[in-house]
Symmetry: C2
Subunit: 400 residues, 2 copies
Amino acid sequence: MVQIAILGFGTVGSGIAEVIDGNQEEIRRDFPEGLNVKYILDLRDFPDSPYADRVVHDIDIILNDPEIRVICETMGGKNPAFDFSRRALERGISVCTSNKELVDALGGKLAVVAKEHNCSYLFEASVGGGIPILRPLRTSFSQEFVTDILGILNGTTNYILTKMEEEGLEFSEALKQAQDNGYAEKNPEADIEGYDPCRKIAILASLVTGKNVKYQQVPCEGISAIDKADLAYARRLNRAVKLLGVCHHDRSTGKIFVRTAPYMVPQGHPLHAVNDVFNGILVRGNMVGDLMFYGSGAGKLPTASAVVSDVIECVQNQGRNIDIGLNNTEAELIDPMTTKSRFFVRVSADKAAEAAALFDGIEAVSSEDPAEYAFVTGVVTEAEFAEKSQKLGAKSIRLL
Amino acid sequence: MVQIAILGFGTVGSGIAEVIDGNQEEIRRDFPEGLNVKYILDLRDFPDSPYADRVVHDIDIILNDPEIRVICETMGGKNPAFDFSRRALERGISVCTSNKELVDALGGKLAVVAKEHNCSYLFEASVGGGIPILRPLRTSFSQEFVTDILGILNGTTNYILTKMEEEGLEFSEALKQAQDNGYAEKNPEADIEGYDPCRKIAILASLVTGKNVKYQQVPCEGISAIDKADLAYARRLNRAVKLLGVCHHDRSTGKIFVRTAPYMVPQGHPLHAVNDVFNGILVRGNMVGDLMFYGSGAGKLPTASAVVSDVIECVQNQGRNIDIGLNNTEAELIDPMTTKSRFFVRVSADKAAEAAALFDGIEAVSSEDPAEYAFVTGVVTEAEFAEKSQKLGAKSIRLL
């Protein structure tokens, strides 16, 4: 049996033990030795758990056991997760994680440490939960230049937007439903303000360029300002409002543009049909065109399953580094103010003439509110739009 | 440079040369040696092609060149493709193919030959064109028991059904549009009768079980009997008609059930939104739940891109076999007559009472045709449905 350890016995950590025990027979098809969870590191004890006897409180017990081949880091947060991961990698123990905060902040650094010590740092579960996305990007796209990734990367906000759309709820009502159903946390800021999908698109952008993109560099808007009327306007435009992580990689300069923001997605676009807590990640390759990967972006067993897929790849490659193509240099970013979009805009009705004077070729959108004038702009730069929109006191959503 | 050869310079074969030349820089990121097409085997000459000087007409020139490491077999058909592939593998030359006919008929045999000679037989492009599906199944699902695959695996029929739905066309009109637009062949039988998706679901079922499923063993219905009224009924049921390849793998017995047939797919199901020429493949794992892979199921560059992804994996694993988990034994199939479904049924109006007597708990569906009575059955076995449906002279479509 190959011995592994789990750091952090929360939702994902305990899911890993369940997947390994429940599907040991499947794991042995590809890997006859089988996997065994030898240690679980946690501050707590779990006297009623079948894993009670494996719980330890000292990382050194794990790091000093020469039998341990892989560590699953499901503690979350930057510290001590970074320190524990680095020390494991320095001993040649591979680390597999779902910890997007650490991956975003220091993944490039840990990838380099892994390379230097002939082991691996993998994090399939950090983006899209159970959806295989990072491994396909690494193993099925060697012949592609990935120009764009567009992703619904956060199940909580997608659930809220779907409820608002389907049941005509206001944002606060839909948020409460999400909280009542366990899809949103009591403090929902990381989801609704877009910080969570922002980390995930930063990780995807890093893998696409092979260089670090940090979430602090990504312009980030959430959905807390979206209201019922926005969704009604979207419907009239045959669109739906989705919170997207977006990146565009320029082949000629190697520079990348990254953003998280709500977009109006047209009917017929594959992301339009991604509803409820599901995630969908569209990858555009210069040869293969548009592909989409769809599934549960969170949840105990799907996320744990993704971590275990990484564990199996690590043990199959024992003694050598799985190169994820990420180094510790900084990506060159495209200035977001230079990018272009069309915008859906709402202004007060008395600004209609001013709006028409400011923007070329706008298309009016019928409004149920006589005090409001709504329209869609032509393609404009962010800089130009920001300036004109401020003059109008406008509320806006980008069109995909 | 790693030297490769292309057998068959048709659509996909010439696409492979385009991908390799157009994205040589991307290929060298992961594989610094780079790839070069040294030979193209075809019966024809291509005097106006930039590849004219690489065309040969004798397979032995390729097989006897010790520089050739991988062959792309894009000839199609069983012979001489099987013979050429087998001879290459026996010399330790890996073979990558898009030839679903050969993979379905003899893929297990060729996989065994590859294993014996420390090289590989890969066929990502044979299912779903450019969509990464076989590699994710092999590399991201080692910890999963795949219980079900449901796929829209044929772009031509999906285009026809989408046109019928969106433009209210009859089957023959939509088929003509598909032919005019180059999406359907002059002899469209392989698509519209379901033989093409039948081969693809047989390949997927083979990989899921590790044993051979041949398309002749798969009950197969096409879409030529679907009419405008069926689509109108589906709409009233909030469903859309899709031609699906379906397999269900039973964990307790290891047996598998496979079918190709039109299904009424409910709104909200991820396959419901897969329209036009696109393919969508839903994979259900016992831990990860439902995932869907979506993209162009055909086309020159997407399909070629998938073949090149296989070539790169082969050269990265030079001298060893990539085990695709397929051997040359026969899969144990579940008798299709024992499987259960709900059915949508149309009978002549005078059979309404007889239908209600034959089936328990049917739900009537409103009809625009007074001469017709339409209803949905409860869950019944295929055997029971076949017997009762014959008595009624019924036309039917399964519900997903």
